[in-house]
């Protein structure tokens, strides 16, 4: 296992080291996300304050929003720009020259991208919303702690599955880029889908009632909605366990679909420019 995993670990490490160097971009993103987070908190406060029988309390919604801002880049809304470049230039041929399972190879790249980038932004965001705001006496509008130790533990598990799910989505996107020779179409379609159906735009429980069953079973829910609701205690006990199960199911399903697609795409590969 150790020897088998060595190349994939090495690729993960190299990508991770590279991506954490983009600190200026992270800082800019952090500033934007603070701003958007503040606006969203105010909007939802206006809606939810004094509302009776709301599917989500203001407290839960505020946590959901801040976590959403912190982990925004965990969403798989774009294909790997580096791989897209390799597809355009034909360098992608070299990826097939490696004695590796190309799916696992690209999945390792995706995991690096879905951990390094969010980590850089999540740390200042959580500190700001969870520590600075309460210190400034604005605790009501800041990020509260998790709903107890079990919730914290389950949240951690759910976040790990979330990274696995997001990486499976990303690898699927990367494979589609190879088939389509351009990342533009994939990114244009995936962006809005990921933002809306992960709950990043509006927390999923606040969407229309008749949409709820649909929202529960679709794959994007496992990206942000599931861990965030576990964090604030909106999902507890059996409900939380079931949500984790759905999350894990989608990881397996997307990996299978991704591998199937990759097999098909690679066998029909044509290389650009001779």
């Amino acid at each position: 296992m150790g020897a088998w995993a060595r190349p994939y670990r090495a690729v993960f490490r190299a990508r991770f080291h590279l991506l954490v160097q983009y600190r200026a971009a992270a800082l800019a993103g952090f500033a934007t996300q603070c701003w958007w987070g503040a606006i969203k908190v105010m909007v939802f406060a206006a809606f939810l304050r004094g509302a009776v029988a709301s599917p989500m309390t203001l407290r839960e919604a505020v946590d959901y929003i801040w976590l959403g801002q912190a982990f925004l880049t965990l969403l798989p809304w774009t294909a790997d720009p580096e791989l897209a470049r390799m597809v355009r230039t034909g360098d992608v041929a070299y990826e097939r020259l490696r004695p590796l399972d190309t799916y696992a190879f690209w999945y390792a790249r995706a995991v690096a991208r879905r951990t390094a980038t969010p980590l850089l932004r999540a740390i200042p965001m959580v500190l700001t919303a969870g520590v600075l705001l309460p210190l400034a006496g604005l605790g009501t509008w800041g990020l509260a702690g998790p709903d107890g130790a079990p919730a914290a533990a389950l949240f951690a598990v759910s976040m790990v599955i979330c990274v696995a799910l997001s990486s499976a989505f990303s690898t699927l996107l990367d494979t589609m880029v190879v088939a389509l020779l351009s990342e533009r179409g994939v990114n244009t379609i995936m962006g809005p889908l990921a933002i809306v159906f992960s709950g990043n735009l509006v927390p999923l429980p606040l969407l229309l009632d008749w949409l709820q069953p649909l929202m529960r079973y679709q794959p994007f829910a496992g990206l942000l909605d599931t861990p965030f609701r576990i964090y604030s205690g909106h999902l507890r006990g059996l409900d939380a366990a079931a949500a984790l199960g759905r999350q894990a199911f989608w990881v397996v399903a997307l990996v299978l679909v991704g591998r199937l697609l990759m097999g098909r795409v690679m066998s029909r590969l044509q290389t650009q420019g001779g």
């Binding site: 020897a3 060595r6 190349p7 670990r9 090495a10 690729v11 190299a14 590279l18 230039t89 034909g90 360098d91 041929a93 070299y94 097939r96 020259l97 490696r98 004695p99 590796l100 399972d101 066998s267 029909r268 590969l269 044509q270 290389t271 420019g273 001779g274």
Partner: protein, 327 residues
Amino acid sequence: MILVDSLTKSFRVAERAGGALGTITSLVRGRYRTVDALKGVSFALGEGELLGLIGPNGAGKSTTIKILCGILEPTSGTCEVGGLVPWRERVRHVARIGAVFGQRTQLWWDLPVRESFELLRDIYRVPPDRYRARSDELIALLDLDRLLSTPVRQLSLGQRMRCEIAASMLHDPRVLFLDEPTIGLDAVAKLAVRDFVKTLHRERGVTVILTTHDMHDVEALAERVIVIGKGVILADGSLVSLRRGALAERRLWVHLVRDVTAVDIPGAVVRSRQGRSVELAFDPRTTSAHRLIAHIASLFEVEDVHLEEPPIEEVIARFYAQHAVEV
């Protein structure tokens, strides 16, 4: 070592009529044209051979190499490299080969060369001590010492190509595919690449398949040449036999002491004349050089003569023309 049997490969190429109307109709109904890149290519190559694969652009050289590397699947036909079918047993196959595509890069753009090498070490699962010995040797052979800590994007093309070639040999493959490794390089870098390939081949017995447009690469390296055109093999043999078949003539340069009005020598054709320098062409199979020179010397006062073969580029161009290959 390498067996290629009637490989064919067809690509589907999207076609569309020009203009706005063409763009719109292509959205509704795509029209495709089939391009046959390879139309039955067969050859066999023994262990330790060095083969030059030449042919005009679009002849099918790169397609052949990519099939042999396991990157592309052929439409029909089979091939085996070291007992493995490249596209069917890709992972095992690619672990045993090295490849350099001159127009692409396998090094990580943002990483220093050394880190790229170490990443390849892990990707090919090379044991640390073997890697150390191997990389030291390659670094010395290709003179990479001062480049190792430079990020790849800051290297010149010649420096990068030396690193690319080293990168392809870190896992000590027995077969090396070089697809236009000297493209765009200056004279010094070309020589460095040729020397290195020669060393690999002579001293380590690595089997090499090389494609190139630079006939000097072929002259310097290849014992055997395969010419591909329009997806079929046009010739397979030594450079000498290729020359004999395509353009056997020799050229004799004569520098005269005095101006002459006309030069007319049986058995030779005047190719060019500039003042007192005359270039003659003759067929060595029918006219002997020695007799030709003696005859000229008896007619004129000669300052200097020299004999040469037509440049290899010209031989190949003639060969393409004879086989009606579009260049």
